[in-house]
């Protein structure tokens, strides 16, 4: 029975899992769970993942959610996955684990709500929320600065001084790619100061070509769709003004 990936390419962690599988020749069925349409909240999907977010996998009878747990599992379960993705050496592995755990409360907690509340929400029929975006931007900027000065320190081109990419590189770069949905000005403001980060994104993209671009193509389509939508606050899809803003569940 082939591995099933329950994903939406609009979701940063979904892309990381998809790219990983493609880059390592892992066969899978891609099952779209359309988050803009709220499909992650269906009772059927709750059977797969009661947390109602993407990605999730089903491997035979084994179900798993949380993209980092999925990436580690795939790196260990599938033969032919090159060792650099999740090294066997425990000291190197632990450094990668520390980035993966740092990510949740830092880059992810900044980037995802920033992009959602500054740009993406109308795709979900929700209004933008500049106040939430401003708060998230601070965390995002701080996290990018830490990647630049701390995680990218060392001889190698990848995180924690590695000369080859790990699952941490893939996860974090996919998160940052969500910034492609922003205007050029905003993206430059955020990424411009960080030369190492920009190079590292390119290096990760290069290391996983052509799958990286394939999986990120959706962002350009969504960006075009956003550009065609009426101005923020006046979309035909915008719900009643007193609907509470939700954080991205992607």
């Amino acid at each position: 029975m082939v591995l099933k990936l329950y994903v939406d390419r609009l979701s940063q962690p979904s892309r990381a899992v998809l790219i990983f599988c493609k880059a390592n020749g892992i066969e899978f069925d891609e099952v779209l769970v359309d988050v803009a349409k709220g499909q992650q909240r269906s009772p059927e999907y709750a059977e797969i993942n009661p947390m109602k977010n993407v990605p999730a996998i089903v491997d035979g009878r084994f179900k798993l959610f949380e993209s980092h747990a999925i990436l580690v599992y795939l790196a260990c379960a599938f033969p032919g996955v090159a060792e650099h993705w999740y090294p066997a050496d425990l000291s190197r592995r632990a450094k990668i684990d520390s980035v993966l755990h740092w990510h949740h409360s830092n880059l992810r907690a900044g980037a995802a709500p920033y992009v959602f509340n500054a740009r993406l929400a109308p795709i979900f029929g929700l209004p933008l929320n500049p106040r939430v975006a401003a708060r998230a931007e601070k965390l995002l900027s701080g996290s990018l600065a830490k990647i630049e000065s701390i995680w990218l320190k060392g001889k190698g081109r990848f995180l924690v001084g590695s000369s080859q990419p790990s699952i941490a590189d893939l996860s974090l770069v996919c998160e940052i790619m969500q910034l492609e949905l922003l205007d050029k000005e905003d993206r430059n403001r955020l990424l411009g100061p960080h030369k190492k980060v920009q190079q590292w994104i390119e290096d990760t993209r290069h290391a996983t070509r052509p799958y990286f671009d394939e999986m990120h193509n959706i962002l350009f389509k969504v960006k075009e769709k956003l550009a065609r939508m009426p101005a923020e606050g006046a979309t035909s899809k915008t719900l009643a003004g007193n609907k509470k803003q939700i954080l991205s569940k992607m």
Binding site: P50, M51, F62, L64, F65, E66, S67, H68, A69, I70, V72, Y73, C76, A77, L90, S91, A94, K95, D97, S98, L100, H101, W102, H104, S105, R108, A109, K146, S149, I150
Partner: protein, 245 residues
């Protein structure tokens, strides 16, 4: 090569790492970092952990931060039973999914405790507006633990019959609620959660109680109702405890 653990006495992730070490007789030296005095931002500590967070470990020339990465690393030490971080990749993956889930969910407990009650202990300001949001996430997380993570035959998370590093990390997080006045109101609906904390405590005692003793001392002093004489005594005790932070 002795392990050094940089920690704080009210830091849940520090507690989890130290309890794990004590339980497995992993020799270590503990170094307290004063959060109240901003010691985590000093150049000396930045050499240990440039992120300025706790805990961090130093093992010879090797440095590591993030408590979950540290627990995984320590689980590979000789003599550590398999159930803490199983070698079976599917069982291990499930434990990792809890550890990942924790960050955006139950970890809000620390934020709730700080923003609603404990911030002045560390010379910070309360943030009651944020505390309202933190509390909602905390309650949702407790419900998820009660209704999903504790499903199964065993007493521990994921239906396991023995504890893993995920049980230790999450149970320590919930212990922070000892510092808030509405602790009982928050936890009482969750019978399985309460039992699981007891089971995790039993599986790791006496170290679990030892590491949480300061929390209980602070709780006792903060909630004392008193005559003038008792009030002075309480203030003296509180000053002594605060100097440790």
């Amino acid at each position: 090569m002795k392990l050094q653990i940089y920690k704080h006495c009210l830091s849940q992730p520090s507690h989890a790492v130290i309890i794990f070490c004590k339980l497995h007789q992993i020799e270590f030296e503990e170094i307290e970092i004063s959060l109240a005095n901003g010691q985590q931002y000093t150049p000396e500590y930045k050499v240990i952990n440039p992120m300025g967070k706790l805990p961090a470990i130093v093992h010879g020339t090797y440095k590591l931060s993030e408590s979950h990465a540290i627990l995984i690393y320590l689980a590979s030490f000789p003599g550590v039973a398999d159930h803490w971080y199983p070698s079976d990749i599917q069982k291990r993956a499930k434990i990792q999914s809890v550890l990942d889930w924790h960050h955006s969910n139950l970890r809000q407990t620390a934020a709730y405790v700080m923003n609603s009650s404990a911030a002045p202990l560390l010379r910070r300001k309360l943030n009651l507006e944020a505390a309202v949001i933190n509390r909602k996430v905390l309650l949702k997380s407790l419900k998820m633990i009660e209704n999903f993570w504790l499903n199964g035959d065993g007493k521990f998370l994921l239906g396991n019959s023995q504890p893993s590093i995920a049980d230790l990390s999450l149970a320590c997080e919930i212990m922070l609620l000892e510092l808030v006045p509405d602790r009982d109101q928050i936890l009482s609906p969750y019978k399985k959660v309460l039992q699981w904390i007891e089971d995790t405590r039993n599986a790791t005692n006496p170290f679990f109680d030892e590491l949480h003793s300061l929390m209980f001392e602070l709780k006792a002093v903060l909630t004392v109702e008193s005559s003038v004489a008792e009030h002075s005594e309480a203030r003296r005790k509180l000053r002594t405890l605060l100097s440790k932070l």
